[in-house]
Symmetry: C2
């Protein structure tokens, strides 16, 4: 137990040891959070990269390739590889935008929807159980803190709002 640090912030009563613990908790929690999906994806010969694409396309039907790149913050080539597989194997469909023929809008096909649901269900169940175990009211705080950890620019991407966001800001 180190003695209270000389308050550098105005009056932050935040325990240093507790902060250290959160760093570890984030590591373990994220690993367990992705473990089940990873195992399911492996059966399809997919990885976490495929999961992200399937998830965000499912959440934002009709998202364009560039919007997806902006969201995932990976390079065109990284996306191309996994997207190609997903399209070739019938999980995702690309339709040319009627208003701008250069754009390819992405949609989940039925096969993709089934996989997406399967993956999301597992993760949702894990969170739901954690909420129950952690006690009522913990859910809102949990979400609030997560949201505050996120770069303000990305906060508006949460909630399947990427397409609308583009119209507002882009």
């Amino acid at each position: 137990m180190t003695k209270a640090k000389h308050r550098q912030e105005k009056d932050a009563p935040i325990n240093e040891e507790a902060l250290r613990q959160v760093i570890e908790l984030m590591f373990f929690a994220y690993r367990d959070f992705t473990a089940e999906p990873d195992a399911i994806l492996a059966e399809y010969g997919f990885g976490r990269a495929h999961h992200r694409v399937i998830y965000f396309v499912g959440r934002n039907p009709g998202i364009a390739v560039n919007q997806l790149l902006d969201t995932l913050k990976i390079t065109k080539q990284s996306l191309a590889r996994v997207l190609r597989q997903l399209v070739d194997e019938g999980f995702i469909e690309q339709r040319t935008d009627a208003f701008d023929g250069r754009r390819r809008l992405l949609y989940l096909l039925e096969k993709g929807q089934r996989l997406e649901q399967k993956l999301t269900e597992r993760q949702a169940r894990l969170i739901a159980r954690a909420y129950e175990e952690a006690g009522v009211g913990a859910a809102d705080s949990f979400r609030a803190v997560l949201r505050c950890i996120i770069n303000s620019d990305d906060r508006s991407r949460v909630g399947g709002d990427i397409l609308a966001r583009e119209e507002r800001e882009g």
Copy 2:
């Protein structure tokens, strides 16, 4: 706004949309949580794998290679690569265990401690700011939920308690 789902669990009042949002929040939050350390590590020619090793060795001075493998849940070879670099470049020291000559106990050297502090400081600051922004009391709930997401087996590893844990359970 979908209408309330037919409660499949006993009486779980958990909003499905909220759960979906958490999935996204976890993705963005973890990415931003690791972004700053990643940038610092890159200056040293290191990656996230090095960070994990430095962190857990710093948190558990005298941890053995096997304990580190169990904690990180990676293979010997994956660890060997980054550990070799860290030892060669003077960030980590290996001492033979006096009680069991087969074991190599790991310690941070001064160089390693400095880097560890630098990295931890950034992450702690990010969390601390999020707590302030999210409001008082959010911290405890946040930690509680994270802990509940974690596999019960790993919960006892949080808090720099890996060495003691080994004595208790191993």
